[in-house]
Amino acid sequence: MSRHKIVRTMNLADELDDFDGEDDYYGEEDEGMSPADKARMADGLKRVREVIGSDVPSLTDEKIEETLWYYYFDVERSITYLLNQVGATEKKKQKKPVVPEPKAPTQKAAIKAKQAFDVPSPDDVVIAAQSQSKGISKSSKGEKAGSNTTASIQKGVEALKVGDTAEKPTLPKIPRNKIDVVAEYEKSKSKRKENANLVVIGHVDAGKSTLMGRLLYDSGVVDERTIQKYKQEAEKIGKSSFALAWVLDQTGEERARGVTIDIAVNAFETERGRFTILDAPGHRDFIPNMIAGAAQADFAVLVIDSSPGEFEAGFNVRGQTKEHALLVRSMGVQRIIVAVNKLDLMHWDQDRFDEIKQQMSQFLTTAGFQPKNVSFVPCSGLTGDNIVRKPADGLISWYSGPTLVEELETAKPVIKAIEKPLRMTIADVYRGGVINPVTISGRIEVGNVQVGDTIVAIPGDEKAIVKGIEVDNQTAEWAVAGNNVQLHLANIEMEHLKIGDVICQADNPLVPLKEFEAKILAFEGLTPMMIDIHRGRLNASGRITKLVATLDKGNGSVTKKKPRHIGPGSLAVVNIAVTGAPLPLEKGSKIVLRADGLTVAAGVVE
């Protein structure tokens, strides 16, 4: 009982209290607009007025504000709509309004309506308009309402109708399930460069961030000026050698301490491919973040510090070179490129390179990488040799292989099941700007999504509508598994979306689990014990409740039922109970189990 009970009985109200009046987490519920939205509203109103002036009497401040709210403060769209509406009123008599009239559309009411569902919210109006155009009429409670504001919205809806049929479209159309995404994807395949995600891993201070900073600099993603600025600033705090790493290490804490704490995401393109880089932290304390990055990767770049004693430090039992490699492999990464880094410090010594290559090959094979999927590149992130540009003449006389980037180009993204039900773990939740108050990002794991889809964030049950999609920062109508996307959402408040939640189509959600069986590979000895369960960004507390059996690694047959202890290196089946709320896991979900700061096992949900 004890703890589980304690967690369940914790006082939620207490927690909410702490955020009272703030906009980032909670708010908007009762007191209407958050302060931030109010500021946007004031600004938006001013800007609309600048364009349309104040001589049109029907365009009251109130109406403009409604429009701004409806368009999430998109000034341009609001103006187009308002101007159109003025035009439309003149033709009003010709068209009969058929769309239900929402009542009391003040901003506050509009927000409330979203929660109460007894009045159509702006989005309902859009949906109503759509179903209406398909001939489905929606009964309305609003008909009784007869205030001026009602009339004005009615006109708005009418204008919408006009736009829908004859004149140029003025409202954002959110078509639903119109696109056959799978077919579209097949068609577009030859036209676009496939994007591959790569996670950069390795022991702390191996030079991962410096290497990536260099790569982004030399391939023109980051400009000279920025680097110069970083150099000066880094010098000021006595960290000049970290200037390139600052491209990735952006928080104050990271810079002051000279370590990466969280994944940094960047993209770059070559003639042959497009890559999203996930720069992982090497420090063992931040392995949960590294796991979040690795879960989104198609392949890995393992960076090794070749300088004396450093390779050895990373490679020993408690070093992260091995732990990281095992982790990415157990999360499904098959292809790994080993960047033997800092060779400038070794005067590009071939013997050192060969020594590292020999030891690493051996280890990676035992870790489950096929030799054909492992390659080694000698390089220096600091000097830039053999990253984007070929090494200076004669510097590495014994090496004639590809540069790191050339090697990356040979790695192909993993084929994903795009026709399956949508699954995407939320990597981040934020305000995507003025127009998009709620945006989530992540990599689609399986399935596809298109604008207009209704989605749900599991384990919650709040639904949302996808009102915009960006794939690699380009606006798109749809996206498929493998894409790194930002989804702009409507009809949902930010606090209902949590990093680590899984996005599904509302009509095909996964069922969160409170208890499950998992097949695991043990890295450490296991007994029934408390563990952290990781799946991408998800980091939850749980308990191994039962050791069901150990299995033969060759054929998977049971070697011992109910063992009382599972030794390191064994394959086993265990039962796991989740401490808190059910987790968004399903059969086949890959999980990592950690305890006491060690990765104790990795496996899949049965």
């Binding site: 927690e15 969280d262 939740v429 029934p528």
Partner: protein, 394 residues
């Protein structure tokens, strides 16, 4: 708790009257009062009386009631104990057999009657009434976005508040959202500490996290304390200790309590000893598997062979309503004590070390010498055994 009166006969039956003084005493009472016991405590009942004119009036009457216990509920958050039962001693207001719920109150005597006061129950009384100095500590375990604010007393860990917020991740070119949220996260924790931890009474306040969060939190706390001129917090500065742990989940307290910084300050406390004992058990499991056993059947066998050097039992097992079960564990404890070679530790199931032990079925032993195959038996018996354990754990 104060012992007011103890009347236990030769045959083990009898009553004990206790006077609870602090919230933790409810926890002791919870470990004492079983289904089938009698309990006499003060209660308030609403009495409806009819006057000669036929009008009714209801009055609240204070009285002592004795019930036979049907159900015991403990709310560790509120520190309240509710006991359901049926009236077993009639008085002028209530009939025998009527249902009543007694809520034990601080500073009011209650009397527990048992048909059998075993050594473990008497041990609970002794421990509850031990006037040893209380060493309460506050602990905040956190990682980015998650913080658990806990109060650890001699016998229980109470999660006072769990703070779970989404922190926007750092993004290229924009870390302000992240840094602002972190600032706010620290502030939420600080407010929670002020509200939920009685800082002046605490021996130490542990701030524990992976990475640098605990340090940053500590900085934030004292910067705020100075800004707001909070003398209590500023005066308690030496009590705040940062500790490294690997996550912000509550179970990280196991790591925290075994860290050298904590041991140096709290070595003599019961919970530090319990944490250490569990740690030794798990270590033994890794280094010498045959000297670490868990599960009732296995441990029982080890006891028979006189092999147990440390017996670890969770007090959840003694709360079992199954008399048979309860006796079995009492016997194990007594046997180990009688052997003279072994030490017995009864762990509190609402301390993290007790939670860990409960995960193993509530009973484990470190052996003096290795024994093999204690778990071997016919499958059938195994199955029933396991059913019991499962019930216990959930």
């Amino acid at each position: 708790m104060r012992l007011i009166k103890q009347q236990v006969e030769r045959d083990g039956s009898g009553t004990v009257t206790l006077y609870p003084e602090e919230p933790e005493d409810m926890w002791h009472a919870f470990n004492l009062i079983r289904v089938g016991d009698t309990l006499r405590a003060s209660a308030v009942r609403r009495i409806v009386s009819e006057s000669s004119t036929g009008s009714t009036s209801s009055t609240r009457v204070h009285m002592n009631l004795t019930i036979t216990v049907d159900k015991v509920d403990f709310d560790s958050q509120a520190g309240q104990l509710h006991i359901n039962g049926r009236i077993s001693e009639e008085n002028k207001y209530v009939k025998i057999g009527a249902h009543h719920t007694l809520d034990l109150e601080l500073n009011r005597n209650f009397t527990v009657g048992k048909a059998e006061w075993d050594s473990v129950s008497l041990g609970v009384v002794r421990e509850a009434c031990d006037p040893a100095e209380k060493a309460e500590i506050g602990a905040v375990v956190l990682h980015e976005g998650l913080a658990n604010v806990c109060l650890i007393t001699e016998h229980m860990t109470v999660l006072r508040q769990r703070i779970d917020v989404s922190i926007p991740r750092k993004r290229t070119g924009s870390v302000t959202a992240f840094e602002k949220s972190m600032e706010k996260f620290y502030d939420t924790i600080y407010q929670s500490i002020l509200r939920h931890l009685p800082i002046s009474n605490l021996k130490v306040v542990l701030l524990a996290s992976p990475g640098f969060l605990a340090e940053s939190l500590q900085k934030y706390i004292f910067a705020e304390a100075v800004k707001t001129d909070n003398k209590t917090v500023m005066g308690a500065k030496p009590k705040f200790v940062t500790v490294h742990c690997s996550t912000g989940h509550v179970h990280a307290l196991n790591e925290v309590l075994k860290s050298p910084a904590v041991i140096a300050r709290l070595a003599d406390t019961k919970y530090a000893k319990e944490t250490k004992a569990m740690e030794s058990f798990f270590k033994m499991m890794q280094t010498d598997e045959d000297r670490a056993w868990y599960g009732p059947k296995e441990v029982e066998r080890a006891i028979e062979k006189g092999a147990v050097s440390t017996l670890l039992v969770s007090n959840s097992l003694f709360r079992s309503n199954n008399m048979q079960e309860r006796r079995r564990y009492v016997r194990m404890v007594e046997d180990v004590k009688a052997s003279g070679a072994g030490e017995v530790m009864i762990l509190s199931s609402i301390h993290e070390s007790g939670v860990r032990l409960d995960g193993l079925g509530g009973v484990a032993a470190i052996l003096l010498f290795p024994l093999q195959d204690l778990d071997e038996s016919d499958e059938e018996q195994d199955e029933t055994e396991e059913g019991n354990e499962d019930n216990e754990n959930l």
